[in-house]
Subunit: 225 residues, 2 copies
DNA sequence: TCAAAAGTGTTAAGTTTACACCCATGA
DNA sequence: TCATGGGTGTAAACTTAACACTTTTGA
């Protein structure tokens, strides 16, 4: 049944991952200092080629797992990048995805093997090809989505303090947030609930630990930060 | 220089177009009743395969022009659709785009040759493959974008009445808008300006014709509807 | 003369912003 | 005892939403 299609050309299709982590009150990206061609020695996103036996989404998940050892990570598609000469080698059409993960949970060995490093989002190096455009679009889309859907929690531990959550959103929006107004908004959302646990590591007094309640969110999918 | 890539498979890459028009107070899509395989006889979006000598964006423009005869049409990418069996023939990865055009300006002959028809968005037939998902995503993205960027004007003639503009936004949001509140918001935007022309076709009294001022928008890119 | 669309302001409700002090504790 | 981060409420500014009548004119 290939008769309708076979006059058309075929292309390499890649996926590239914009991997966000949150640490030290800033967003970070997991980037490769390439030890392989093309563009050996330069910085790039983690990427890989789509294979026959996987969907494009699955390819992105596989590539992320190859670098981090993680599965079931939150990912969202940024879009397709299809300029003719975007890859300096051969023509490759790439689909970019961003991933949000807890920066304390990944496979250090794999990351080291790939010569990958967490880089503060305010100190990004030049990236190969159109990877900078991918990062910019990912950042804008993630920011937009984080304001109306509870995706930010993927960047935090299961239990977190309100100060941590506030710092996270300050990093996402890249602007300061008023503490009292922030806490008022949190209090209005049923899906963020206080636990009886206390974090003593961040302050002398100790801060209440909160968690995101998935079920409560599904019952009342209200989220605005 | 293909040595790094050649172990990887290649794929057909297609583009599919969600073509929006505005008529009779409703959004419409330009759809094909297919006269060709695969899925002959069924309804689908206009699509085509990416070629070697064009970017993916350019392929989308070309495919749109093949059907409508139009160039310089507003288009935005919806995203890549890459399930393994999304196309029932061979594996095809498709990138969807939506287009916004003035429903009075297109090449009737080309459209007829392709057996394409404008269909009210509330009366869409079943579509092949994952085209319905493409339409839903396109609709959501267009709605979101139309609220913060002046893309809606692409669906109207250069000169339009405020009633037309209001009907358009009611169609985009699929909900009624208060006339006085709407006109107040328009009055606050420098980029929408009254001309000295009057439309006499829509009412006995006649209505002032307005136009979008691109330069004014660039100087003060403020838009909220 | 009347039907049909154009045009026009005000008020109440709700949302957002700005802002400062006391608390608990470990060092 | 004091430095550090945790925790709390109110009032003003702004934005949004609700609402009804007069005007013009061609049929």
């Amino acid at each position: 049944m290939d008769s309708y299609y076979s006059i058309n050309p075929k292309f390499y299709v890649a996926v590239d991952c914009i991997i966000f982590g949150f640490s030290e009150k800033d967003l970070n990206l997991l980037l490769l200092k390439r030890t392989f061609e093309p563009a050996k020695g330069e910085w790039s996103l983690m990427g890989g080629f789509v294979q026959e036996n996987e969907s494009v989404d699955d390819a992105a998940k596989r590539v992320l797992a190859e670098l981090t050892g993680l599965e079931n990570v939150y990912m969202a598609q940024v879009g397709a990048f299809g300029s003719i000469h975007r890859d300096t080698g051969e023509r490759v059409i790439s689909v970019a995805y961003y991933a949000l993960l807890n920066i304390n949970e990944y496979d250090r060995n794999l990351v080291q093997q790939h010569n990958a490093f967490w880089v503060n989002i305010h100190e990004l190096p030049s990236l190969i090809f159109d990877h900078q455009a991918m990062v910019e679009q990912a950042r804008a889309q993630m920011q937009q989505k984080a304001s109306i859907e509870p995706i930010g929690f993927n960047l935090l531990p299961k239990l977190f303090t309100l100060s941590q959550l506030q710092s996270l959103y300050e990093a996402i929006y890249d602007e300061p947030i008023d503490k009292r107004n922030f806490r008022k908004r949190i209090a209005d959302m049923d899906c963020i609930e206080k636990t009886d646990k206390i974090d003593k590591t961040g302050s002398k007094r100790g801060a209440a630990l909160y968690q995101f309640n998935e079920k409560a969110y599904k019952q009342a999918p209200i989220f605005k930060l």
